[in-house]
């Protein structure tokens, strides 16, 4: 142990000894305790040449080269008659490996091994730099309004660049309706992915369904909602959403307010007396967790906004319908969000 060198300092404390132990362990593992040979100087000539290919190397390279067309033929045959991915990969890979072997062997054991020295090209030649500036100055001799011309050229260049760059704007459509609209309106029926209306009676407690507005594009981010049923007594929705959950059936947007993934997990405790966590909708991307009893409040995770809730009504036929628009904008936040 090398702690003798500390003799002219304070005796090392315990923390310092532990630290040193870690360092020594890592040094040992990294193999750093071998010291490389010191050189003699940078003025020696390192040029070097070894000639002479071993016979075994020449034979081996010949063998490898000879095998290549054989295996390549095999690859060709497989490709035409039985293009099985594993066999194709193995045969072509073998061809390439044989080629690699031949090249590496040739490079290391066949051809002369040389170490050469070349001078590095000089750079930073102040004479040449000055010459460039002088030549440039010569090129604008005799022009009196130099400054004005240069400024005008600069402005012209900016204008030209703007003209060339502006077509990029064509990429974008008009914004405002797009990002905040959803197909949900009061009275719109909720349907499954086949378009069949969803009956309130078919949503049981502890289950979750995906629903869409009838007739709307299912790929629209504003469309999909998650339907769950909870015990009405356990709800603690905000006061202005009192009638939004008939019979304890809740609908929330299925699109996460963090980064637009589909909220496809529903944590639904079977026996609340042994499971401390309540029912929640969870997003599989970054595990933003939304409390369904509390209006979609963010319980955990990076989402910055609660999950938008859709008010529900049950019509006389027992079909679930929207009671109005969503409680807030759907999907990830942006500047133009209306709060």
């Amino acid at each position: 142990m090398r702690n003798g060198h500390e003799s002219h300092e304070q005796p090392p404390g315990r923390a310092s000894r532990i630290w040193k132990a870690i360092v020594m362990l890592l040094l040992w593992r990294l193999g750093g305790l071998r010291s490389p040979r010191r050189d003699e100087g940078s003025d020696i000539d390192p040029s070097h040449r070894e000639v002479g290919a071993a016979e075994w190397a020449q034979r081996l390279v010949l063998l490898l080269l000879a095998l290549i067309p054989v295996v390549a033929l095999g690859f060709v045959a497989l490709f035409v008659f039985d293009p099985n991915t594993q066999l194709l990969g193995a045969s072509l890979g073998l061809v390439l490996a044989l080629a690699a072997g031949a090249l590496v062997l040739a490079g290391r054991w066949l051809v002369p091994q040389e170490t050469s020295v070349e001078p590095r090209p000089r750079a930073g030649d102040s004479e040449a730099i000055k010459a460039v500036y002088e030549r440039a100055a010569q090129g604008v001799q005799g022009i009196t309004r130099r400054r004005l011309l240069v400024s005008a050229a600069g402005v012209a260049g900016a204008g030209l660049t703007a003209a060339v760059a502006i077509p990029v704007v064509a990429l974008g459509p008009g914004l405002d309706d797009q990002l905040s609209s959803t197909p949900w309106r009061a009275g719109r029926a909720l349907v499954d992915e086949h378009g069949n209306p969803i009956l309130a009676a078919s949503v049981i407690e502890g289950s979750f369904l995906t629903a869409f507005p009838r007739g709307a594009d299912q790929e629209n981010l504003g469309s999909p909602v998650v339907l769950v049923r909870v015990d009405p007594g356990s709800l603690s929705l905000p006061a202005d959403r009192a009638g939004w959950a008939p019979e304890g059936i809740l609908a929330y947007s299925k699109i996460c307010t963090h980064a637009a993934c589909a909220i496809s997990l529903y944590r639904s405790p079977l026996s609340p007396s042994t499971q401390s966590r309540g029912p929640a909708l969870v997003c599989p991307c970054h595990y933003s967790t939304f409390d369904v009893l509390d209006g979609g409040r963010v319980e955990f995770g990076p989402a910055g906004r609660p999950l938008p809730q859709l008010p529900l009504t049950i019509d006389t036929g027992g079909v679930l319908r929207a009671g109005g628009p969503m409680s807030g904008p759907v999907g990830p936040a942006w500047w133009g969000d209306s709060k």
């Binding site: 050189d39 020696i44 690699a100 090209p121 974008g172 936040a333 500047w335």
Partner: protein, 480 residues
């Protein structure tokens, strides 16, 4: 023309292009030898593999999001409704001879491409190769890394499968999170609100098969040209100076070894492409915005971003009743922006603060020769590594039972603490390694055994005081 003229290819070229002198220059051209100098070549040859397999794939892929009903040879999805892009990917995988091999080689090559660039970048940073005159080439290299990552993301998002579709949704959320401009920017790119118009798939396709590969190829060409002009850097050693290059000439040694490396990279990629399954999109199924799968992950080089998005607390900054900075901005834009900002600023930071050295350098430093820089690089790397690990905290929970929320808090703490520890540890190791080789006897407190005139051995004399004190400190041991 005389009939006695023998075929002379060099004369053929030289008489037309005057190329003989250039050829001789190239053949004499010296490459310094070290295994770590080959990492960039591994990346280059992976890129060659990407171009070759990518061209094949582009001849079959259909970048169309119109829904079709699938009736190909993968019966598990027979009759399912999916986009034309997904259907054409299934077609390539199951109905085109060698199609699945090409797809898998292409994807493995992409993973190895970015891995090789990363290792190459680490070598550059730890050996100080980014210093003048190579700082401009270094900027080109960092830019290549950015575009390689973007290219990979675009590539695996093209098939419109469930996993990559979720990734695109997150990318849209991150694009939206840019303060003020996020909404217009994201909808401009996507042609509307996510999942975007039918033009988006075409844009992704053109970006992936033309725009970004052209940028990559151009930057690589400039990168190689600058190396050729400046000559490669070299480690110090016998006969090696700042004003010369010592190593293997291009012909025959380096050309053969380089070609051998090309064949090796190709062999490894093809063997993996044939024998190890990657991105089996038929198992993920087609993407819809209203479905999601657990355990969806991006390709490895974006793992640091999913980690950042997961460990970031749910902060959103509001102003005047609007959302100024939505949450995905911190993990998806700010964090990678800071890391790449540090990378771009490194030559200046190194000149000004770390090494305090404005001179030109063609000789490299070993990591131990610059403890402060190595420690800083290791610390930043460890911070990124912690965030990477945080991105798979859900699998850690699944395998080992640590609670997810607890794991997230652990990674938040680790992100702050681990880089500090790594910094101190790396610096100490570098200093110790450097001291060790200068003074192998430092701290030695044994006894000297001397032969006496009678032929026996005397022991017990202590190490002379002068030697001991010289062994402890030397003129080189300045704090760096």
């Amino acid at each position: 023309m005389s009939s006695e003229r023998r075929a002379d290819p060099v004369a053929f070229v030289d008489e037309r292009l005057g190329a003989a002198r250039g050829l001789r220059f190239l053949m004499d051209y010296v490459f310094p030898d070290h295994w770590s100098f080959l990492l960039g070549e591994i990346a280059l040859y992976s890129f060659v593999g990407l171009i070759a397999t990518g061209t094949f794939l582009a001849l079959f892929f259909n970048p169309d999001t119109t829904q079709v009903v699938y009736h190909g040879s993968y019966h598990a999805l027979g009759g399912a409704s999916m986009s034309g892009a997904y259907a054409s990917t299934l077609h390539i995988s199951f109905d085109v001879s060698g199609g699945l091999l090409a797809r898998q080689v292409h994807h493995w090559a992409a993973l190895v491409f970015v891995a090789a660039i990363t290792l190459h970048l680490l070598r550059i940073v730890f050996t100080g190769a980014f210093r003048k005159p190579r700082d401009i080439n270094y900027f080109i290299g960092v830019t290549l890394l950015v575009f390689a990552i973007l290219e990979g993301f675009a590539g695996y998002s093209l098939p419109d499968d469930l996993l990559s579709g979720m990734g695109l949704a997150i990318a849209w959320g991150v694009a939206m999170s840019l303060p003020l401009i996020g909404g217009p920017f994201a909808t401009a790119l996507w042609g509307g609100r996510f999942p975007g118009s039918s033009a988006f798939e075409s844009r992704l396709f053109i970006a992936h098969v033309f725009i970004i590969p052209a940028i990559l190829a151009g930057l690589i060409a400039v990168h190689l040209a600058i190396i050729t002009i400046q000559r490669h850097s070299q480690f110090p050693g016998p006969g090696r100076r700042e004003d010369n290059v010592v190593g293997t000439p291009m012909w025959p040694g380096y050309a053969l070894r380089s070609l051998g490396l090309l064949a090796t990279v190709a062999a490894v990629l093809v063997l993996m492409g044939g024998l190890i399954q990657i991105n089996p999109v038929w198992l993920w199924g087609p993407y819809h915005p209203y479905i999601g799968t657990n355990g969806a992950q991006p390709d490895w080089y974006l793992g640091w971003l999913i980690g950042a998005l997961r460990i970031m607390p749910n902060l959103e900054i509001h102003a005047f009743g609007h959302t100024l900075v939505p949450n995905p901005f911190f993990g998806g834009v700010l964090f990678p922006g800071l890391v790449f900002g540090l990378l771009y600023a490194l030559p200046w930071l190194d000149r000004r603060f770390i090494s305090r050295d404005y001179r030109r350098h063609d000789l490299l430093e070993r990591p131990r020769d610059n403890p402060r820089r190595s420690a800083l690089a290791a610390a930043v790397l460890s911070a990124v590594a912690v965030v990477f690990a945080a991105g798979s905290a859900d699998r850690l929970f699944f395998q080992f039972g640590f609670g997810y929320e607890g794991a997230i808090w652990f990674f938040r703490g680790a992100f702050l603490i681990v880089p500090v520890i790594v910094f101190m540890l790396t610096r100490r190791i570098c200093l110790e390694l450097a001291r060790e080789e200068r003074h192998p006897l430092r701290g030695w407190n044994g006894t000297i055994v001397e032969r006496n005139a009678q032929g026996g051995f005397d022991s017990g004399s202590r190490i002379p005081a002068g030697v001991a004190s010289r062994a402890e400190t030397g003129p080189e041991d300045q704090r760096r």
